[in-house]
């Protein structure tokens, strides 16, 4: 394995593509949040505290729909449950002697994209280090916060004069979900994906969007418990 340096600066450099992608999505969130009646502080607070794009956009929908606090919290927490898998996967790749003393700081930034970028760097020979992870996570977080702040400052009506830009930013979230889905797509997970899609559509049509999201996640995850052939498990 190539023994590449793994300093904070290396992490900062590795995070640049993520930062470029995060900024417009966070901007769209800031615009959407103020468009849904939130203040700039509230929009920024959600990014600062939750720091999970999909959950934040769904927060807007849940708050607007008047969903009860506990239902909203459970839905959003369930949505972020997938992050449980990232730490063990990353540390397994990092090796048994990898330090994790400061993971309580840098691992808060272990988003889908940061996790993917870190794994990619390790796969290409980068040595794991906490300073590297800190740099990687910090730039992505800073990009997310600054994009949110600028979007919130621009305001909900900021893009009314540019409907095509507004439409494009509105599609950013579905595009992000589809891209993330493609990035983790495997034959073994196809049943969970199909069941999740069907349950979401069915329950949304007969009940509500919030119920559809819960049903999709739970039904899809439970599909993982079904016995499968050895070849499919790979």
């Amino acid at each position: 394995m190539r023994d590449s340096s793994s300093t904070v600066a290396d992490g900062l450099m590795a995070a640049i593509p993520i930062a470029l992608g995060y900024f417009p999505i966070a901007f769209a969130f800031g615009v959407a949040a103020t468009g849904h009646g939130m203040s700039g502080i509230e929009a920024f607070g959600l990014s600062l505290i939750i720091y999970a794009g999909a959950a934040q956009f769904l927060t807007l929908a849940l708050i607007t729909s008047g969903a009860p606090l506990l239902v909203s919290a459970f839905t959003l927490i369930a949505m972020n449950l997938r992050h449980v898998l990232y730490g063990p996967s990353l540390m397994k790749r990092a090796g048994p002697h990898a330090r994790r003393r400061w993971s309580w700081v840098w691992a808060f930034g272990l988003t889908d994209e940061v996790f993917g970028a870190a794994l990619g760097q390790l796969a290409r020979g980068r040595r794991f280090s906490e300073p590297f992870m800190f740099g990687l996570a910090m730039v992505a977080y800073a990009s997310w916060l600054s994009g949110t702040a600028l979007g919130a400052w621009a305001g909900g009506g900021a893009l009314k004069s540019w409907p095509a830009v507004e439409a494009g930013l509105g599609f950013m979230l579905p595009a992000l979900f589809l891209s993330l889905l493609l990035s983790i797509l495997s034959r073994a997970q196809l049943p969970a994906i199909v069941v999740a899609v069907l349950a979401t559509v069915g329950v949304t049509l007969v009940w509500s969007g919030t119920a559809g999201i819960l049903a999709g996640m739970i039904a899809g995850a439970l599909t993982g418990l079904a016995p499968r052939k050895a070849a499919d498990a790979r």
Binding site: I50, A73, H83, G87, L90, L182, V197, G220
Partner: protein, 104 residues
């Protein structure tokens, strides 16, 4: 900041922090690869993302598949196939959607 929004953010933020941080401390590598919990956790991520994609697209497809949505989706698929980059595919899909929206 309204109290209910702050409360919601703190609850979700605390769990998100725990989901991201605590597993880096725990040694889950001993978990049997084909075990129930392992399979449930493995299916949770894809199921969540598939659900979110479906939920975000459903309002757009009611009444048919509009051209911007079709074009944006194709752009995501094509760019991801070419680059394997989540960021590039997301941006390409968004740009294609906006461009087709302007043309139609």
């Amino acid at each position: 900041m309204r109290a209910e929004i702050l409360t919601l953010a703190l609850m979700v933020g605390a769990f998100t922090w725990a989901f991201r941080v605590l597993p880096t401390r725990a040694d889950l590598s001993a978990m049997p690869e084909g075990g129930l919990l392992s399979r449930f956790l493995a299916a949770t991520g894809p199921a969540a993302i598939a659900t979110l994609f479906t939920a975000s697209v459903l309002p757009m497809v009611q009444g048919g598949m509009p051209l911007p949505l079709a074009g944006g989706t194709v752009a995501v698929l094509a760019v991801f196939a070419a680059t394997r980059s989540v960021v590039a595919a997301t941006l390409a899909g968004s740009i294609a959607y906006g461009a087709l929206f302007a043309l139609t």
